[in-house]
Symmetry: D2
Subunit: 418 residues, 4 copies
């Protein structure tokens, strides 16, 4: 696959951003591109376990995205199966010589952010801005998926030792996809796990062979149920779920910093109430805790829940809290970091290679890493600089496409070096 | 129109509840029923002034309700015109003798409340529960509209003095419809104004000839605009609109009671944020202030705005506040109250007639009343008991249909007594 | 006692304001003035029951006020006894003819408010401003006590039927004194109870023979106990009582208005924490609920407690809530109201006499009234206008002294009329 | 000075803890002990500049502590001068050979914390628990002062090169003392600056020759002024300073964590209101911001102020914010750190010596350090382990007295090594 083709795939994906577990058109594109390559593909229940996924999108929502895939001419049977059974794709490509099993994670999901419509934003200027209102690839997963496909094409000559498992993952945002794939056995037998991530405020050409500071995280939803009442005729009959949720929000954000580890809390969304003149009977929060230390994240998560329950009790409303996702912290293995550094040198990017980059975010690749490391394997998380124009999760986020071949080249060398 | 027909109309309307300014199927039904009666009908710009209505529903929303009307077989031209130009209907019925111009207000809109689906709830038991998910006639406007249509049919003999103007009003909830109709001249020339309201916790057979305690109100929306940021990688770059809105909510509810008048405040809805891991860049509140005293309502409204602006300033976010509706307080004219009492006696309901009922809510009929009174006319607001099973705006709200003929009889006598 | 003497007593009391249960110099003055009159005096445990009074001032605080009384030359034994056993004084004056037992309540306590030091404020201009920093007679109790003493002097001729019981009450503010006196039997046998109150925004010369709108109230203190920690070195080890108290405060003020009765809530004081750099381990609130309806006050009190407990739970801190006082609502007996009106006419103030004045506050005289009414007696609460210069509880509050003889004359006629 | 005497001084100081700028008995003790040594002593305006110190304690407060010093038999003239002109003491001890000017900081102030009264707490068991209610040496400054005095005694032989300046500093807690001493020239001419601190969770025998993670900090007070009103009769007339302060507190604690540096915020005290039934007219907060990065601390401080101002605006109250203290972050000079390490080895503590200890707190010694470094000098901050029984600022805080000679020995060797 040449560079133009790589860029074209990324732009096509960028223009069609699909959120967590709705990556139907994206996975269909992945399957199309894998066709003809010497890979063994698993999808559906062989690639991910849907039962038990919290807050899985409704049939109606998934159908909406399936329609887009059909409109673009994707195979109806494939689309139907992806919509019904899940969007994860696992593809094993066996080399011509015996060797380790590599697990390479490429995440596919987009975010519920409206993309900037401004000529200063390259996707807008060059015609590949999101065509799905309110959704955007604002974290580079469009590029990740394209990199995975280019690498599979490059390695189709099978001139390497071992097996490369391409893990095309749904729902990295919110931390639910990796867990579902691991449950289906996608990490079984992997000896060396590598996730790549574009961006992270590094310039094009820079590769970080490992990261530190990846945050353990817990994603939660809280559902408050009070009692509606006419806000003028009988406000005292109401039990105000909106007030409970607002109080919880302030309380969660006011939780203390920890001196023992870096922490984060965020109530990201609050939706409550029906009308001006009704005491709000229901409210819903989406929120998260994080920490550089897994135990601190658990302690903080416990306090977040305590705050929410207390706020509900204050206002006489019921609350149900659901953990909808999460991931753990991660320590990159020095041996594999060294291999990535060596691969960068071999690929000609040595002068800009860093051993370690500070992450400051979360990624459920950490769950793949933990699974592999617990079985005696190695894991790292490599950052490929993309001179990102704006911070991750910003409507102006964009990746310099020069980053795409850097990642492909680095991974290619890493695999072939063994 | 016999009682069965009256009940049937009410049930049909009950099953098809349309919210403010979307009363397309309802208004089409009204127009159908008026056809053949000796009335002069005004619709569109002659009945209401759309430009300037705050938070008017979008074309897409109105089109959705228009489709329902079409599916039910209503005339496509009528439906298109109601969707395009507004749903108010003004119908003048001239008596055979000279006399005053009566203005009778019948409001048509429903509420964004999901109706109870429980055999204990009569509309569910008898098959006329809302067929529009999330919407419900939970304030009796279905009955009001049916009463207006039955009265028009009854008075079609023209055996009375003067003219009766039927004011079929959209958007009483939220307080925007009366203002728009007055702007189009609907109150011009009215000498005696009467609004009827079913329910208010009075038993069937009871009529309150006037009310006290009607609340002046201001409906507002507040739009907060902050700055998004990754909640882990750079939370300090964000400006948190959700926190500002939550803080404003607590502050608004904590505003003092007044010793000089009864007051209410309510933040009815709060919607903010996009995702767990993004500092929320936008938030929106729908809220209201009320008071038995118009000046106190204004003072309270000013303090509500001050709270909102201060909360935005705390968190470094911008805020825009929009007054989206409102109504004033109302004093019923004793002379007209006496006429209603007399009409009740004449209609055989005298033993249960009250001069005054306590309201404790708001109704923008007060704006019609104020317009008429300022021109030297008289106004009252009559309550027709309906043994309501649950409070207004509750998913179990229902009216005993025995109330419908009471209202028609009373109004019939009132007009014919002159 | 002539008018100059009456004024002089009031000014002396005004200059020496003593807060709840510390009215030692005041009670000593009362006892001095009663000496030589034909009264039977009860003090100490015969006049009030100290055990069980919540938040009774400490020995140290009472000793401080006792010192003032000693410095002014009051009898050391009397002062010691008042400081030790309570400051209530009950004095029975028997008329020369048989008749009813009248109970007249005169409250003696001042408020913890600093008095205005401004020549525009008459007590400052005329040299009788508070000489006790931070305390002030800002509710007219100085005048009440003076009225009681003048009336006792006037009725010393015993030319009336029945017995007059003068109830010199401590601690009206905060609602603890009446309860303590009733517990000691001070209300036993009273047939007709009258409390007088100066001010209430009525002009001098106006007497309200009864009141409506008196508020039932509950006074509470909440004590939060968390855990201290260094705010930088280990904030996560702390449990923040200050945050819990601040959250409770917002939640209490945000409790709904009631449509069934007028309500009030107020967190009047919050004291928390020790230093900038310590997570606050303790916090204390003084707060109140009120309502025109006793049952609503109880419901509201319950919700206040629920809010406080929930806020403590949010932040992992303990809380103890203490009801420190309270009073009930009150309905004045029409028969006694008529007698007061007649007395006013007899005293020459008839033209300005009102049957009923709106109160909008609380007074634990309501507990005396309830005790008397439950035993078949009658009760009223009379307002004597004083052209108050500023609202009650304001640093500029003052009473036109012309009000004092009006009250004495009215009560004199009431008793002598029988 | 032998070890028993060193311990005795520490225990005497421990039993008489004096808060910021009230260290009168402490400074008098210092002056007594310095008498007879070959030092040049500066006090009063030569040692610290009082004008401009924010929230300097009132004359009455300082007089109270002066009385304690007099009762203990300290010279009245000395006590009067310390109370009037400030409690800092600067003592220069010149060695017998030319050399650098050493500045050694010993802070003297205690904290407003009540000390544990529990036999498990050594000061309680051994009879040197605080005799001043509500104050406690809970940060080891009693030990620091004793160390300084023992070192001065030890170095009185003048067998070293250069000059040692002993900086006995008031008001380290709250960050105001160092600034006042620097303003008076106390840091002028210093070539090498060392502060020692006991404790910090290190075992006895361990010395940290330098620290990292010292936090820049800003201490603030916010004074809210609203309008009082009767909470029942006219709550709407009030402007609630307590609500504003509670809202500000939640908002300050809810400020975001920074990804660029470690931060802290704390509202340590809140005092508001006068009585249950008065809308609180005034409120006062004592609060602090901190960060490992000085610029982040400034940014955070700005946001804290914005929150406070916005909260005041919400509730229509005025607010004044005062910066009452602060300090900066600090980088220890490697050369001086090496000298401390060498001194530890020379003193026989080498096996437990660390180059760097993590601080996680603030100390305005950083201002001395900054002043010295800006003039080309060197600075470090040495931690002397004390096996502290409880965290700093805890009622059970205590130092193993075995730490005292370690500090004296280390400093002695450091100076004599040159």
């Amino acid at each position: 696959m040449n560079r133009d083709e790589l860029t074209a795939i990324r732009r096509d994906l960028h223009a069609h951003p699909e959120p967590a577990f709705c990556e139907i058109r994206t996975a269909a594109t992945v399957l199309d591109r894998l066709r003809g390559l010497p890979v063994r593909v698993r999808t559906g229940a062989e690639a991910m376990t849907v039962p038990g996924i919290p807050a899985y999108p409704s049939d109606a929502v998934r159908s909406g995205f399936a329609e887009h895939a059909l409109r673009d001419g994707h195979d109806p049977a494939t689309v139907a199966s992806l919509a019904a059974d899940g969007t994860a794709v696992v593809a094993d490509l066996e080399g011509s010589r015996p060797g380790p099993v590599w697990g390479l994670r490429f995440d596919m999901d987009a975010l519920p952010i409206g993309e900037a419509d401004d000529p200063a934003h390259p996707p807008a200027a060059h015609g590949f801005r999101s065509s799905y209102d309110g959704f955007m690839h604002a974290c580079g997963h469009d590029g990740h998926t394209a990199i995975g496909l280019a690498l599979a094409s490059r390695l189709a000559d099978r001139d390497f030792a071992g097996t490369v498992r391409f893990l095309f993952q749904p729902a990295e945002e919110g931390g639910r996809g990796a867990r579902a794939m691991i449950a289906a056995g996608a990490a079984d037998g992997v000896d060396k796990f590598v996730a790549v991530h574009l961006g992270l405020d590094q310039p094009v050409g820079t590769v970080g062979a490992g990261i530190e500071g990846i945050l353990a995280t817990t994603k939660m939803r809280a559902y408050f149920t009070g009692r509606a009442a006419h806000a003028a005729a009988a406000p005292q009959e109401g039990r105000n779920a909106l007030l409970a949720a607002a109080t919880a929000t302030l309380g969660v954000h006011a939780l203390p910093r920890y001196s023992t580890a870096d922490t984060r809390v965020n109530v990201g969304t609050l939706h409550a109430g029906d009308n001006f003149n009704i005491i709000a009977a229901h409210a819903e929060l989406a929120l998260e805790a994080r920490s550089t230390d897994g135990a601190v994240n658990e302690d903080l998560t416990g306090r977040v829940k305590q705050v929410i329950k207390g706020a509900a009790a204050m206002h006489g409303v019921e609350v149900r809290i659901e953990e909808t996702g999460g991931s753990t912290s991660m320590v990159c293995d020095a041996e594999l970091v060294r291999d990535v550094v060596a691969a960068c040198h071999a690929a000609g990017y040595g002068s800009q290679t860093l051993e370690t980059v500070h992450m400051g975010g979360s990624d459920d690749a950490s769950l793949f890493a933990a699974a592999v490391q617990q079985s005696g394997g190695l894991a790292t998380y490599a950052v490929v600089g993309g001179s990102n124009a704006a911070p991750h999760h910003n409507p102006y986020f964009d990746i310099d496409e020069g980053a795409l071949p850097v990642a492909v080249d680095m991974l290619d060398k890493l695999i072939r070096n063994g």
